[in-house]
């Protein structure tokens, strides 16, 4: 059994030693902040733990009463594929807004989430 453990360990050590960082894209941070209160946001900025594919990553916004709020095309930052930015094309009225996101990381794993923020009067 010890020999078995040695073989397993060596195999894993050799197989994994030179790999790079790829994983599910988990939401690390958002602006407006998750659960936060802001005055007049001009964009939704989502910072993920990994790079995302903007073509397959969706962000949508619903306002008070559940009405859809149009957003501009979401893009990643030029130098940081883990940051996705969706412009808010019209000023938001005061109220509670819900962000829905569905991300596909660069290694094709899917994640999703929802959070709210408040626009103060």
């Amino acid at each position: 059994m010890r020999a078995f453990s040695v073989k397993i360990s060596l195999f894993l050590a050799l197989a994994l030693a030179a790999t790079q960082a790829l994983a599910h894209a988990q939401l690390e941070k958002a602006s407006p902040a998750v659960g936060g209160t802001v005055s007049r946001p001009s964009e939704i900025r989502l910072t993920f733990s990994e790079g995302v594919e903007p073509r397959f990553t969706n962000v949508s916004l619903t306002g008070p009463g559940g009405a859809a709020v149009p957003l501009g095309a979401a893009k990643t930052e030029p130098n940081n594929q883990a940051v996705l930015i969706a412009p808010i094309t019209k000023p938001l009225a005061a109220g509670v807004y819900t962000v829905h996101w569905h991300a596909v990381s660069v290694d094709t794993h899917h994640t999703q989430g929802t959070f709210e923020f408040t626009v103060k009067p």
Binding site: M1, S9, L12, L16, A23, K29, A30
Partner: protein, 309 residues
Amino acid sequence: MPTLKIRSAGALLSAAVALWLTPAYPHAVCGARTFPATIAIDDPGVLDELTLPTVSYVPFNSDGAHEWDASFSWTKTITPGLSVVIGSGPTWEHPGGYGWNALDTELQWQALCIPDAEFMMKFGFDISWAGTGTGTFEGTGGQNTYSPLVVAGLGFGTLPQSLKYLRPFAITAEFSTSTPGQDWTNGNPNVSTFNWGFTLQYSLPYFNSQVAAIDNDFLKRLIPIAEFAFQTPIHNGAAAGVTQTGYFQPGVIYEADKWQFALEAMIPMTGATGHGAGVVGSLDFYLDDIPNRIDEPIFPHGFGIAPGI
């Protein structure tokens, strides 16, 4: 033999170092919910993962002995919803001695994931192989032990907005039976058990990404957890003088980018379990994000037999 021990320790260390340097996120993911790996019972996901090691100490086990256990478990996906698990490890008892436990293999099937409900479930079939133990376990188990099992997990993310602070909660549960291949061996009864357990967990990573931002980088990676795991004899228990055993394991899981670490107390729940609080810790690595072909299903598109297979 000391040389072998050194080699083994070196190999384990090199594997651990390699994994430490390999970022990965724990992700028995269903919808917005990530179920972390848990110690007392299994998590409800089927994925490539490595638990290396799990180490536990109980001051007085059911035989009144001090007990140390170490184990590993490696899960390899065959198709996206089907995996094989290999696990084993040594036990030290004083008084009692040392030995490797029997080799366990398990086939797992991810039967269900309902993303909007944050609900997932898997079925498994575990075999503990006779004749693979060593030392104090060499003579035990003249027959295989078979354990069909089911594991399920449910996140509370569907609760209404008025209860948003309860949304990070999740429960998982596992039920199985363990049945030896023979009722009796050399005149001694072999006991079949019903194994059941559940966890209640509160995910601060979920809180941070779904409810309210947490500024503290350490805090937002913690998952306080309480685990319960019991073994109830269902056949030959009386003949063997075996009664229900079980532990309550409160603790916390730290979910890093590359690994997770769980630390829990082990509190005996019945007199037959032992006495005195023990402790268990576990390092877990999620391999399915690592792009090197041992991380992906062997048949990534499955066979079209059933969902995930």
